[in-house]
Amino acid sequence: MSIGPAAKVIEARTGSRLEKVLRAGHFAVTAEIGPPKGADGRRIQQLAALVKDYSDAQNLTDNQTAVVRLCSLAAAVHVLNSGGEPVLQMTTRDRNRIALQSDLLGAASLGVRNVLCLSGDHQRFGNHPEAKGVFDLDSVQLTATVRQMREERLFICGEEIKAPPRVFVGAVENPFAGPVELRVLRLGKKVMAGAEFIQTQVVYDVEGFARWMDTVCAAGWHKKTFILAGVTPPRSAGALRYMSRIPGMKVPEELIRRMEKASDKLREGQRIALEIINQVRAIAGVSGVHIMAINWEEAVPEIVSMAGLYPRP
């Protein structure tokens, strides 16, 4: 496998709406939709209908936190059927290279034009902690694989692909995991592997995020990939506290206190999200926001409107 086609800012070539928006220089908005723990697709269709006009693309999580849910590929098709633009999240935790490449071909054949490559939360956190983690590939290798399949028209094994998957390729990064030097090295590695956009871990610690962005910009990575800052409107102080305990999350204590004091928690949560959007928007090198309104997708339209990011291009 030849690896690491350096990311180049090139003309949109995948038919992805998100790619078009980003390459045109607009401040992008993506929204996350969490598939349900059941076989009912209507909820996804409802959520897609709700957020599609307020976001350029909608992420479908892949068994997030290692909890079994309706699969991200089927969820992506529900979004397509609702007129949305899915970002198919793919983790390397549950599938080996055979299944990942196969799913990618299937997704592209169904009209999915964006894919997000992740390693995935460790199975230990989920509802099947006794499961065997696959991790045949890691997220960097998956990113390089998708680019190789798209551009070189080759599977990992080197065999030719007659109809390559035309997808816009993204990856994730956590600015708060530290040490910053290591995190930026890893971001660079993902970009070199072919990540055209990066969605970050939820930003509550804006100062910490700004410091990370400084290092990212000093290395020039913001010119080779589009960075979308993660934003999650908190629903309550308890939710913030819960998130502060998730590995890789950083939540300033004063934010939790602010939520505790607020009389209208939901309003305050939306206000916090709005402030964070405005703050990260002012940071050099940030190309958009990825709104993860976990179990509160209904909040997305108002937040996007309040941020002056509606209508979408």
Binding site: H122, F135, D138, V140, Q141, P179, E181, L182, R186, P247
Partner: protein
């Protein structure tokens, strides 16, 4: 060494309930070092079985033997006479030892008395840690002698995941993040560039996920060793 953890005597008893003649077999190699299957543990398991046998009013006849190495057929000779009248053998050797005994005595039930954990070493008295997943394709030269296949909970080859915080692994706060350790050591060695190299997908066919592995080296085979060197 191969790390192993003792099984409970009650789980062994559940398998030998109606039997009379037992052989408890230890091994002087790894399981002696990790204190799960040496002479001392053989004696301990035998005594506990003996007590249990007396309690049920139908005592076991228990033979104890600890061989030099269970994973070597020649070393199993001391078991030959004992196994002739045995109903079962409880091997406190690793999974390899259990299988070598089972292969040599196909008519006798062999019961593992330990759970084999992996390749590791002693970090302090009473604490052993895994270090090698035996993947069949060693990359330790590139990772400063820290194995990400074994020590990263996801076996990642291109740096840490997003879940490690303050040097701790997301899968357990008592575990250090292997990639953060590799990063610090690479930095000390002035080799951070190694982290920039994208490591391609690993060939897991060399690992346990391929077919059963076999090492064949003709140069050390007895029939060929007599030949003059080229």
């Amino acid at each position: 060494m191969i790390l192993a953890r003792p099984k409970t005597v009650s789980s062994i008893l559940a398998l030998v309930g109606g039997m009379k003649s037992l052989v408890v077999a230890g091994c002087q190699e790894c399981v002696t070092v990790c204190q799960s299957g040496g002479r001392k543990e053989v004696s301990c398991v035998a005594q506990l079985l003996e007590i249990a046998g007396k309690k049920r009013g139908f005592p076991f006849e228990i033979a104890q033997v600890t061989v030099f190495r269970q994973c070597d057929n020649e070393c199993l000779v001391p078991l030959d006479a004992l196994m002739e009248k045995a109903d079962a053998c409880i091997s406190l050797g690793c999974g390899v030892g259990v299988q070598f005994i089972a292969e040599r005595y196909p008519t006798v039930m062999v019961i593992p008395g330990v759970d084999t954990v992996g390749g590791g070493g002693t970090v302090m008295s009473g604490v052993w840690e895994e270090r090698c997943a035996m993947c069949g394709e060693c990359i330790l030269a590139e990772t400063t002698g820290i194995c990400p296949v074994t020590r990263c909970a996801k076996g990642l080859l291109n740096g840490p995941c997003g879940g490690s915080v303050d040097g701790r692994c997301e899968a357990g706060t008592d575990l250090p993040c292997a990639w953060e350790m590799i990063y610090h050591r690479l930095k000390k060695q002035g080799r951070l560039d190694s982290l920039r190299r994208i490591r391609p997908p690993k060939n897991w066919a060399h690992s346990g996920s391929g077919a059963m592995r076999k090492v064949i080296r003709e140069e050390v085979m007895p029939c060929l060793s007599a030949l003059p060197l080229k």
